[in-house]
Amino acid sequence: MREVGIVGVGHPPFGKYEGSLMAMLCEAAVAALDDAGLKTGAGHGVDQVLVSSMGASQVNRQTGVASALVDTLNLRPAMAETVENGPASGASAVKLGYMAIVSGMCDVVLVVGGERMRVLSGWEATDFVATMLHPEAEYAYGLTLPSFAGMFTRLIMAKYGVTERDLAMVSVKNHQNAMFNPAAHIQLVPDLEAITEDEDALTINPYVAEPLHLYDTCPVSDGAAAVVLCALDVKERFAKRPVKIAGIGQATDTHVVAEREVPTDLFAVRRAAERAYAMAGLGPQDIDVAELHDAFTILEIVEAEEVGFFPRGEGHLAVRRGETRIGGRIPINTSGGLKAKGHPLGATGVSQIIELVRQLRGEADGRQVKDAQAGLAVNFGGFGNNVVATILTREEE
């Protein structure tokens, strides 16, 4: 089978973007093309463009975004599609780009993920994200993603003894990592005692969806991120040594969360990771660095178990032992994660993959994991009803 690598990455800072959605996407795309050493204009060499966005049509009232991007960047007549898979749109777009190259239809694919969400108020954003829930059985009740995360957390706490402090430790770790990532939205580190034990902890860190607090949930961010994929058999065209896409796995679960057979499992995470490991010929013990979808701190802990880093019910113990910090046994969310880097939905999956590329290239500066050879990203759509796992490996000269 034809092999595929990533030869260019572009990741402008997440946060509040003042320009248009299109300008934001173009900024990331051009940065990725530059990083790959591709020129713009005639002879650009891009066969296909994929844009991942969950809300362009709903939030920014723009459709046909990929077609517009191709023209704005003058990449015509490249093929173009917009990909929507909720918060897992980014990894889905990379997967489709991978498939396009493996099929032989394309040699070079540009994937651009982006979301411009800060035009919404907090409650409008929560409502927009909740539209991926079941319209009658969930959304109509006022249920939201934080609601399901809160109910899930309560079950996990009761079953495995996870505490609110454990969750806060995940948050503090990810904020610490984000301090070394200039693209992260939130550049501050909360004090663990101040957000858990201190007298006014509930004022600084109020409940959002009990037992989850403000510091357990990701912020609303604008942001775009882009990668250039290429067939490894044409890698000579590019400036940088490719990072190989060694495995991709995806799985779905029930749309209606209440219908899950085991309510404390994230089945689609487990299955997606198993498929990615099988394709890569690797296992959890081979992974040196991971980006897990911590839209809520509890998800980082349970995903780490589902992908096989820790036995079930022991993820929080690994957090207490510092095993998921940079320098620990398996550093998780070195980028700052969704918690601190931000979660512009359609950009997130691409952003996670970019962090792995940086780690595997040895370009992660102050957050570099020493001698990282393989990385795993988990991009989680819905409340875990559509999950994409991607494994990247460092290719030797």
Binding site: G122, W123, E124, T126, D127, A130, H134, E136, A137, E138, A140, Y141, G142, L143, T144, P146, S147, G150, M151, F152, R154, L155, A158, P206, Y207, V208, A209, E210, P211, L212, V256, V257, A258, E259, P263
Partner: protein, 114 residues
Amino acid sequence: MEREMQAYQCTQCGELHHPLHYVCRKCGGRDFKEVPLRGEAALLTWTKVYNLPEGYMRPSLGFCIVEFENGLRVAGQLEVDRPIFGMKVRAVVDVVREGVGEDYYGFIFKPAQE
């Protein structure tokens, strides 16, 4: 008229669903009959949410997942002061979201003895 919520029973194998699916999760059947979904249920998990979506003019709202005596699990709103795992709650059907011209009805779970 009192509103009622429905479960959807596969006419081929008897499997209950809520909400309606187009194909039975157990046998692949495609025909369902409506069965009233009501009565008592056990509280499986719950939350109190403070950042409500558009359209709710209140500071917080309780939500839960319960299991009915027939084994069906559903999500709904929760109006219980001190929730406890496994406690019995009673399904009431009332307005769960106000809409322009059309309110949406669904389950609100309340204490079993009142």
